[in-house]
């Protein structure tokens, strides 16, 4: 029996996450791994929105910001457990995506890109300027999730790095599973169809604005959960998480790896998360490198690295 893309992707992902620590030169790489998983999660949302539904968002970091600050603020001000704050952030992001997307996605064309850009900038400005609530650009402490301590009392003693590596890994696998379920489901098929031909999608009865809105809301939840995990892991967050560069980073990761493929997007997230860790000089030129990656991929590997390689392999295999 041939392996479906879904099974193959999930198996590869689980194997990589489980086996990679065997090759870690130092404990520091648990942290790098966890960052890759967090970014991979956000980028999986981009795959659903951009790769399948063909819509572009330039403000997805705004949702990551909401997820992150929900975990910083809700436990303090609302007395919510941080785990519930993740859900609250996801809920707020979903509602905001719905409110922004609903009027915009009735229009044809790339208006979502512009509207989401504005939305992202607004969220970033609020986080920077509402000092009384968010402490502004200096950032804010985030409470402990408490799960590691609970696991310890249950007899599973993990280091902080190991714990976040495992938790983010599990959430990423879950996110990938959901996305891959969606891909071959009626909704996923409809999203890919409207990307191919909107007029044909409408003639077969697809409610195109509604489908696009669903994709936008789902991808907002992915970004939000990713922001929450980042905040809880770092125990500290600054408004940069909601900044425009973070939105661009997400799109670039997806485009580099292959915006139509979950495996590709996670690969793209891995490469662009590892680069700055490997090359310290990269940090200074990050924006330059992101731009360069985008241009080169568009010229040479339109579908992204992973789908292009897979196509080559299949081409020679048949």
């Amino acid at each position: 029996m041939r392996l479906t893309t879904k099974t193959a992707t999930l198996l590869a992902l689980v194997a990589l996450i489980a086996l990679a620590p065997l090759f870690f030169p130092s404990a520091f790489y648990y942290r790098v791994g966890a960052l890759i998983f967090v970014n991979g999660l956000a980028v999986t949302g981009i795959v659903i929105l951009t790769g399948w539904a063909g819509q572009i968002s330039l403000g997805h970091a705004g949702f990551a910001g909401i997820g992150a600050y929900a975990c910083a603020l809700a436990p303090v001000h609302l007395g919510l457990h941080p785990a519930l704050a993740i859900l609250l952030g996801a809920g707020v992001s979903a509602v905001l995506a719905w409110l922004v997307g609903r009027p915009i996605l009735r229009l044809k064309g790339y208006y979502l890109g512009v509207a989401s850009l504005g939305m992202g900038i607004l969220i970033s400005m609020v986080l920077n300027n509402e000092r009384d609530l968010t402490r502004g650009p200096d950032g804010i402490d985030v409470p402990d999730l408490g799960l590691r301590a609970a696991l310890k009392t249950a007899g599973l003693d993990l280091s902080n790095g190991e714990f976040w590596y495992a938790l983010c890994g599990i959430v990423l696998v879950l996110g990938a599973w959901l996305a891959l379920n969606l891909h071959d489901s009626p909704t996923g098929r409809a999203l890919r169809a409207l990307h191919g031909s909107e007029v044909a999608a409408r003639t077969v009865g697809m409610d195109v604005p509604r489908l696009k809105l669903q994709a936008f809301v789902i991808s907002a939840v992915y970004a939000s959960v990713s922001g929450s995990l980042l905040a809880l892991q770092n125990r500290f967050i600054t408004p940069d998480v909601a900044g425009f560069m973070h939105s661009v980073e997400m799109v670039t990761m997806a485009v580099l790896g292959g915006v139509g493929s979950v495996a590709g997007a996670i690969f793209g997230a891995a490469v662009l998360t590892l680069l700055p860790q490997m090359l310290t000089v990269f940090a200074e030129y990050e924006q330059l490198v992101l731009g360069l990656v985008m241009v080169l991929v568009m010229i040479f590997l339109r579908e992204g690295v992973v789908p292009s390689i897979l196509r080559k392999l299949r081409g020679t295999g048949e």
């Binding site: 009626p186 909704t187 098929r189 409809a190 031909s197 409408r202 077969v204 009865g205």
Partner: protein
């Protein structure tokens, strides 16, 4: 009994009447063809009927309901579906997936069920796939099911579009030049297919350039010239009509 009636439909583009006061009707199981020289307004008429353009005047009545300028996805719910002159297939999806997309109204359900791969979602998808495979057999594309649609020949894509439209089990099917660009064999295959669909009780409205095909399969022909209806009737009557010969056949002879 009339299933689809077009009542005084008209539209102007930049002050010029592209279609003017066109009326006719289609009954279940009937094949009605719209013919006319290039630029006569056939595709514009089609786009108005199928909700792509908003008519400037007149009404489209489907099964007793005024559906003028209704969005295509709502028309689909009411049993009207169309194909396109310039193919509109989902290129990067497989032939099977393209056909399954035609079952969207039947197979779509709560997005949460799809995300979680719940049995209900799988059941809907499986039913749609079975139907799609059956349809692909009917149009002779079953062996291409797993291929990417973009890799099919032109004639096969035309049949794929018809299969996708049939998946909706429409009561009215609008076919915009289904045989354009097809060779004689492919045209004949499409010919049979259309006759078969009509025989199952579907009302078919056809725009077609291939006069032989039109004369062979139509029950009723509407002739447009410069956006106006100049004649209508059965194929024999229309082909003898002097106005039609002058406007359409005459123009073609003069051009040839």
């Amino acid at each position: 009994m009339t299933l689809l009636s077009i009542e005084g439909l008209g539209i102007t583009f930049g002050g010029i009447a592209a279609v003017k006061d066109v009326s006719f009707s289609v009954r279940p199981g009937e094949i009605v063809s719209v013919i006319g020289p290039n630029g006569a307004g056939k595709t514009t008429l089609f786009n108005m009927i199928s909700g792509v353009y908003r008519p400037g005047s007149g009404r489209v009545v489907l099964n007793g309901e005024d559906v003028t300028a209704m969005s295509p996805h709502l028309l689909a719910r009411r049993g009207m579906c169309r194909t396109f002159q310039n193919l509109q297939v989902f290129q990067s999806m497989t032939v099977l997936e393209n056909t399954i997309a035609g079952y969207h109204l039947q197979e779509s359900g709560p997005v949460l069920a799809d995300l979680l791969h719940l049995p209900a979602s799988r059941r809907r998808a499986r039913a749609a796939e079975q139907g799609a495979r059956e349809l692909l057999r009917r149009v002779g594309l079953e062996r291409a099911a797993e291929r990417e649609a973009g890799s099919l020949s032109y004639g096969s894509l035309k049949r794929l579009e018809i299969a996708r439209a049939m998946a909706l089990q429409p009561r009215v099917l609008l076919l915009d030049e289904p045989a354009a660009g097809c060779n004689a064999v492919e045209t004949e295959e499409i010919d049979h297919l259309i006759a078969e669909i009509a025989a199952s009780g579907v009302a078919i409205l056809l725009v077609e350039h291939d006069m032989k095909m039109v004369m062979r399969i139509s029950n009723h022909i509407v002739v447009l010239d410069h956006g106006e209806k100049i004649a209508e009737g059965d194929p024999a009557t229309v082909s003898r009509n002097p106005a039609v010969i002058a406007a359409y056949l005459g123009a073609e002879h003069a051009a040839g």
